[in-house]
């Protein structure tokens, strides 16, 4: 008995130490953890023989890890679902500039980092969905209009600790200034149907349940809901329609955010890292994204999935996406001061 116990323990301990090391690899610190990512990395490995190693965690934790590891960091690439976090990493001096003509020609001009520290791979819009029974499309116009008295008790949105809401608020601050943003937040809080809670999907369900009429959600989640395994969830998805705000002639367009990649300052496998970014933004890589998720492709030559396409084209807020990081702290303070929980 004892012998068995000891031998099991030894085996376990040994198995901990013996991580296979290969030289032809690229190391990712990633906030993304969708099934499509795994598929992408497998495809890339098949194509190039370069092994993709991934650590998945919260973006801020990964930044902390990067910062503390400094020169010893094994990380080559930092992958996020928020331009704000890429800005933060670049701002802390954790990234280096990316120069690749291939990537440059792959991705859409509008989505690029003006400073060249990160590249976009996909993007998503933070849009409105509304009850197709109780709201008419003509009544909807802009994010700003959501504070209108007619929406008292009708607005649904998740908590302010959510990064997508923080990015949205940052974009409002960047576009309209702090004062107007405070007013906006106050007005919106007044119009809340309930305290912010749940996921984006839950906001849509709450519309179906009649607890509110309009929800602020990411486009991505509507796609998920419309492809649910459960009939009841499909019905909830069908009870709402999608609306892209701020599309008017003099209006700035809908708020978007990218999922993107930064090149770590001390990247030990820089060449492989660039290769991976080139692959992910290539036509093949981008098609894998749109076929397996509901994100918009960063490569303008690839069109999004059928469901996403059916919502139509829309005007994008041209704001420099680095602002989403730069105004983050101010956005949080506005949330706290105006009672957006």
């Amino acid at each position: 008995m004892k012998k068995i116990f000891y031998s099991i323990l030894t085996c376990l301990l040994i198995s901990c130490g013996s991580e296979k090391k290969s030289n032809n690899e690229v190391n990712l610190y990633s906030q993304r953890h969708y099934s499509v990512d795994k598929l992408q990395y497998e495809n890339f490995e098949k194509l190039t023989g370069i092994k993709v190693n991934v650590i998945k965690a919260n973006a801020d934790e990964l930044i902390e890890r990067l910062k503390n590891e400094g020169e010893n960091s094994p990380a080559d690439l930092f992958v996020t679902v928020d331009a704000g976090k890429l800005y933060k990493a670049a701002d802390m001096g954790l990234l280096q500039k990316i120069s690749s003509n291939v990537i440059n020609s792959n991705v859409s001009e509008k989505l690029k980092d003006v400073n060249g520290f990160w590249i976009p791979i996909t993007y998503r819009a933070r849009i409105l969905v509304y009850s197709n029974e109780r709201v008419s499309e003509d009544d909807l116009s802009t994010y700003e209009d959501l504070t209108n008295e007619k929406w008292r008790g009708k607005i649904l949105v998740r908590s302010s600790s959510n990064a997508y809401n923080q990015a949205l608020m940052s974009s409002i601050v960047a576009n309209n200034g702090a004062e107007k943003s405070i007013e906006w937040s106050k007005g919106l809080v007044q119009n809340f149907a309930r305290d912010p809670k749940g996921s984006d999907r839950d906001q849509v369900k709450a519309i179906a349940a009649g607890q509110g009429d309009i929800a602020i959600v990411n486009s991505y989640y509507i796609g998920l809901l419309l492809n649910s395994e459960k009939e009841e969830e499909l019905n909830a998805g069908k009870a709402v329609k999608v609306f892209f705000p701020n599309q008017g002639e003099n209006q700035r367009g809908s708020h978007i955010n990218i999922s993107g990649i930064g090149l770590a300052k001390n990247s030990p496998n820089k060449e492989n890292a660039i290769k991976l970014m080139e692959y992910l933004t290539s036509k093949a890589g981008q098609e894998t994204y749109v076929n397996n998720s509901y994100e918009y492709p960063a490569n303008p030559n690839v069109s999004p999935s059928e469901i996403v396409k059916s919502w139509g084209e829309f005007k994008i807020d041209p704001l420099d996406l680095n602002m989403l990081g730069q105004f983050r702290e101010q956005a949080i303070r506005i949330f706290d001061e105006t009672g957006w929980k």
Partner: protein, 539 residues
């Protein structure tokens, strides 16, 4: 004379060894405190002025609700099962432990799905009883609902503590209560509850700690607690200094709680008079049967079978999307790290407690208290403190990168869960009189021999219990694994969480189901051990 000297010397080396291990365990926390000194600007005042009060009040309220329901779900079934004989008693005695196998955040996600507008309950009502379906169309994401859900996941801590205690209280006390002419209800309040207070309080302490550390579920329910405040300062406001300050405040509060519990327990120190006869199980009156069945089945069904059924249904729905190779790998990973860390934790905990016992000096007593500190910190903060520590060492010896190695991950687990493994061993050791040590000394046994010949055998059950409890906690562990894990390393917990936060609950189900199955099997073992200890005579 000669023997005595050697003994003393050996003792010293044991003490020295324990001090070194203690330093290793406490070092990351010291680095956290060191971080406190380096804070340049703090948002603490800002947080105090805006959200911190609300967050703190929410925390107290949530703790209150969870504690209340945990006590209700735990104590009453434990009472009936320890004292009465009724049909189905053994079934409940086994299953009442099982909700512990379900991580609390999975419980929360599952229930919010079950209760939601598109969930089975409301859809059923809409199809069959459309008239009344509106009554149940409510917003269930409320702090009170969350409190009850957490209680369903956590009450087994209280159940197991009171179950053991109630069963061990000897027949003398029952006779006493009879002689005093106390009614059954009165003897429950006047005798059993006070006598079991230390056990119940220690269970309640674990419940409170779990609520304090809860992050995923509270975030989902939109309930901001103190721990959410720590993460708000760290992640959203980008101010690690403030996050550390908040963590240290939490640490101090928990320490005071800890001492409060100790103080209260010290007052009511009591020995389950080992020699007094155990009482026999009594028959239950027919009219009470219904009541007993409902108090026993509510926690079991709502805490285990309903969420389990829902999860299994999800697994069936997504069966063809399951990647079994990956599943096996994750099962192996989870079992591997949980086993290694649990064994280490037990060895270390036993070492400290044993040395405290044989050396009887103050330092060791204090050390053995201090090493439990890690349990008071949220997992992510422990991860952070380890990163801070390792990197400042790395600056000294720049060669190797320790972050992202298994050793660091397991190191973090040990710090976080040492208290969990320590507690069953400690209560077992406390039951044995000091005379064992003295006798052993007189017989000239070295500390090693004492450990081998006396303490290991007589605490065998406690050691196995400690292993199982720690193992289950590690199976469910999430934040430390997320922040410290090596490349390409997933556990069942991380995979469940990744799908769940991306709102793909059905796909996460096979992984949570695996956690539940493995933990349930371990709990069944635990149940067996507990029964051997209580050794309730049947009939």
């Amino acid at each position: 004379m000669e023997i005595k000297r050697i003994f003393k010397l050996e003792n010293k080396s044991w003490v020295l060894g324990s001090v070194i291990v203690a330093i290793l365990v406490l070092l990351p926390i010291l680095f956290l405190i060191r971080g406190l000194l380096k804070i340049e600007e703090s948002d603490l005042i800002y947080l105090l002025n805006t959200i911190l009060l609300e967050y703190t009040l929410n925390t107290f309220y949530l703790i209150f609700i969870t504690s209340l329901f945990s006590l209700f779900f735990g104590i009453i079934p434990a009472w009936y099962i320890s004292k009465y004989r009724f049909y189905g008693r053994s079934f409940f005695d086994i299953t009442l432990y099982l909700p512990l196998a379900i991580p609390s955040y999975i419980m929360a996600f599952t229930y919010s799905d079950i209760l939601s507008f598109t969930g089975p309950m409301q859809s059923f009502l809409r199809t069959h009883f459309n008239e009344i379906s509106n009554i149940f169309n409510l917003d269930y994401l409320q702090i009170e609902v969350l409190g009850i859900i957490l209680a369903l996941a956590l009450y087994p801590y209280i159940y197991s503590a009171s179950r053991i205690s109630f069963s061990l209280i000897g027949v003398n006390y029952i006779n006493l209560s009879k002689n005093l002419g106390l009614s059954k209800l009165k003897s429950f309040y006047k005798i059993f509850i006070p006598l079991s207070k230390p056990a119940i309080l220690s269970g309640l302490f674990l419940v409170i700690m779990e609520v304090l550390n809860e992050y995923g579920a509270v975030k989902y329910f939109g309930v901001n607690t103190y721990t959410s405040g720590i993460f708000r300062a760290w992640f959203s406001m980008n101010n690690i200094g403030t996050a550390i300050q908040l963590s240290i405040i939490l640490l101090i509060v928990v320490l005071s709680l800890f001492y409060l519990e100790k103080l209260m327990n010290a007052k009511s120190k009591f020995n389950y008079s080992v020699n007094s006869k155990r009482q026999n199980l009594r028959d239950l009156k027919k009219k009470k049967l219904l009541l007993v069945y409902s108090v026993c089945s509510i926690p079991v069904f709502f805490g285990f079978f309903i969420p389990l059924g829902f999860i299994i249904n999800n697994v069936i729905l997504t069966y063809f999307e399951i990647d079994f190779n990956q599943l096996y790998e994750l099962v192996f990973n989870s079992i591997k790290v949980s086993t290694i860390a649990s064994i280490l934790i037990i060895i270390i905990a036993l070492l400290f407690l044993f040395i405290e016992k044989i050396s009887k000096n103050k330092i060791n007593h204090v050390i053995s208290q201090l090493i439990s500190l890690g349990y008071a910190l949220p997992g992510a903060v422990i991860g952070l403190s380890l990163i801070l520590m390792v990197t400042s060492f790395n600056k000294m010896f720049t060669s190797l990168s320790i972050i992202g190695s298994f050793y660091l991950l397991i190191y973090a687990y040990v710090i976080r869960f040492l208290a969990v493994g320590k507690s069953p061993i400690k209560s077992s050791l406390d039951k044995h009189p000091d005379s064992y040590t003295d006798t052993a000394k007189n017989l000239g046994l070295s500390p090693m021999m004492q450990l081998k010949k006396i303490y290991l055998p007589i605490n065998k059950f406690a050691l196995i219990t400690a292993f199982i409890v720690t193992f289950i906690d590690l199976m469910k562990e999430l934040p430390i694994t997320l922040i410290l894990r090596p490349f390409n390393f997933d556990t069942l917990g991380t995979q469940t969480y990744e799908y769940a936060i991306e709102e793909m609950i059905p796909l996460s189900s096979i992984y949570s189901l695996s956690i539940i199955i493995i933990s349930s099997v371990m709990l069944l073992f635990l149940k067996n051990i507990i029964n051997k200890q209580i050794n309730v005579p049947r009939g």
